[in-house]
């Protein structure tokens, strides 16, 4: 009788077991039989796995930096790390499509969204699922500004539109009408959106030209609750949060605490901490500025959208950092030091840890993610296909 029972193990029981397996095991077990392949690869199972809050999911770090290969050649390298000691889970990846002459310190690393991350340079966007080791080069931005015009990219975002069930990339750029002087009064903002479903870029109409200008910083963009959020410079040179709802494709803004929103001087970052939008304000890393004069402050918007719920949760003693990268494990802040190496600072224990990971200064980025089985879509045969590493 036992024999028969084993053969009749109900599918929902198998699913209960599968949901508790790490991704490497799940992928390996697709080789067990066709039934297991179909089950594990089904969108039902993948979504169950993604939304499964009952099993504790480990957090991992992807860490990006630029490394100099020779004087006019730089490469972008990703490291995949785990645990308090940031041990590698697999060997580093030199990202194709992202080699360049000069340091890629403008590149943005965005995510995670359902376990996917996007690496966006001036020219290229590469989408990764680090758990399944897939990546794909997305189609280029549409041909840049027309002949005679120049364009600079202010902000990029990546996220998920749950209404259309579509992953999107959004790019906000400034087109200058009067080259080569880049007269700031003669430019116009342009917003383009890439839909994974159509594999195309399209431009949005009716952009409000008075929209706050994106404030560029290494870690100033997050995807949170179906919108992309950036730090921006609003009226009267006050810092503000600008966000773009991935579903309605409408921009809106959120005020920062008025005691902590001056644009001139300190630098700002934006992260998600304890499921709340959190702003970091830290001293200008330029050595001319004395970090002790302007301590790092961390503010959390405890209740979404409620201005009065902004609360300063930490004031950090002087740390010589170039920029914060992220906060994970509830209170550990990863930063790029001024010498171009990765350090962590425990906000509760006031403890610094140094890691043997260096890169070109200002090129570091980091993302904390949980593994997912989400497949990177690739609808068109003409587009670059999904590759593995």
């Amino acid at each position: 009788m036992a024999h028969e029972i084993l053969k009749k193990l109900p599918e929902d029981v198998i699913i209960y077991i599968l949901l508790r397996l790490p991704i490497k095991s799940l992928i390996r077990f697709t080789c067990i039989s066709k039934t297991w392949y179909i089950l594990i690869r089904s969108s039902t199972f993948i979504n169950l796995h993604l939304n499964n809050s009952k099993t504790a999911k480990e957090e991992f770090i992807i860490f990006k930096r630029s490394l100099q290969v020779d004087p006019f050649q730089h490469k972008t390298t990703l490291s995949f790390l785990f645990g308090d000691d940031l041990k590698p889970v697999l060997s580093d990846l030199d990202v194709p499509y992202l080699e360049s002459t000069f340091v890629n310190d403008y590149d943005q690393f965005i995510g995670p969204c359902h376990g996917l991350v996007a690496l966006i340079s001036m020219m290229n966007t590469v989408l990764f699922n680090p758990a399944t080791r897939n990546y794909r080069l997305l189609p280029r931005f549409p041909s840049d500004a027309p002949q005679g015009f120049r364009c600079s990219i202010d902000g990029v975002g990546f996220g998920f539109d749950s209404i259309a069930n579509d992953y999107k990339v959004v790019r906000i750029s400034e087109v200058y009408n009067d080259p080569p002087y880049r007269d700031p009064y003669s430019s116009e903002q342009k917003v383009e959106v890439y839909d994974m479903i159509t594999d195309f870029w399209r431009e949005l109409d009716n952009i409000d030209q008075d929209m706050p200008r994106i404030y560029w910083a290494p870690s100033s963009m997050v995807f949170y609750k179906s919108a992309c959020y950036w730090l921006a410079i609003g009226p009267k040179d006050k810092m503000i949060i600008l966000y773009f709802d991935m579903g309605t494709e409408i921009f809106n803004s959120i005020n920062l605490p008025h005691t902590c929103n001056s644009y001139n001087g300190p630098h700002y970052g934006l992260v998600v901490l304890r499921d709340s939008i959190t702003m970091l304000r830290y001293p200008n890393p330029n050595p001319e500025y004395d970090p002790a004069q302007d301590l790092m402050q961390i503010w959390m918007m405890k209740e979404y959208g409620v201005y009065d719920s902004w609360m300063k949760i930490y004031t950090v003693r002087p740390l010589l950092i170039e920029s914060p990268l992220l906060i994970w494990k509830d209170c550990v802040m990863l930063c790029e030091s001024r010498e171009g190496s990765l350090i962590s600072y425990d906000l509760k224990l006031d403890k610094i840890q140094e890691f043997n990971l260096q890169g070109c200064p200002t090129s570091m980025r980091a993302i904390c993610y949980k593994e997912s089985m989400i497949q990177i879509p690739c609808e068109s045969k003409d587009s670059a296909q999904v590759q593995y590493f």
Binding site: L6, L9, V13, R20, L21, S25, S33, T35
Partner: protein, 189 residues
């Protein structure tokens, strides 16, 4: 909330296993199984369980007694009990998880599934096939193709064994198991 006219606390239920053995259990303990709870609310006190053997049922009743609200066990004691409970082969555990799922006992189902997952996560494809007696319906070419998609998932030290170190080997299909510690009580008999 219960629509039943009788108070469950003082009710004794009779559970009948697939082997036709009867077990007397207090309803307040047995209703940790949602399946049994639903039957009690419909007024039944004789609960036939034709697809659960006595051996499995005895142990599950042990679990229910230990995890009942009034058992007075500390969290530590419960954890210790759970750890001891799952000391069995994966094959045997499959019988239990089937029963726990049928009886809708969420805590037990979760415990068993997590234990099975932990035991199989580092196992090779072949080992898992043998444990769950799954027929490989791939052709060698198909299997090679699927494997090549994510070769990295097959790297590293994979456990090819079918049974774990401390467990007894199932001689047959697991119907006789020499390693079970004799139970102190079997229901309220």
């Amino acid at each position: 909330m219960s629509s039943s006219s009788s108070e469950p606390e003082s009710n004794i239920l009779t559970l009948k296993s697939a082997d036709n053995d009867e077990f007397q259990v207090e309803a307040s303990i047995a209703v940790q199984s949602t399946t049994i709870k639903n039957m009690v609310e419909d007024g039944y006190t004789d609960i036939p369980l034709v697809n659960i053997s006595s051996e499995v049922l005895i142990k599950i009743l042990d679990y229910l007694k230990k995890h009942a609200e009034n058992s007075g066990c500390s969290e530590e004691e419960l954890n210790e009990f759970d750890n001891e409970f799952v000391k069995m082969s994966i094959k045997k555990m499959s019988l239990f998880v089937y029963a726990a799922s049928f009886l809708h006992i969420p805590g037990l189902t979760s415990l068993l599934c997590q234990t099975i997952a932990d035991k199989i996560k580092n196992k090779s494809v072949n080992a898992v096939r043998r444990i769950f007696e799954i027929i490989n319906d791939y052709t060698p070419e198909e299997e090679a193709e699927v494997r090549a998609e994510h070769d990295w998932a097959h790297e590293g030290e994979l456990d090819d064994t079918v049974e774990e170190d401390d467990e007894v080997r199932d001689e047959n299909d697991g119907e006789s198991d020499d390693n079970e510690t004799p139970d102190d009580e079997t229901g309220e008999n």
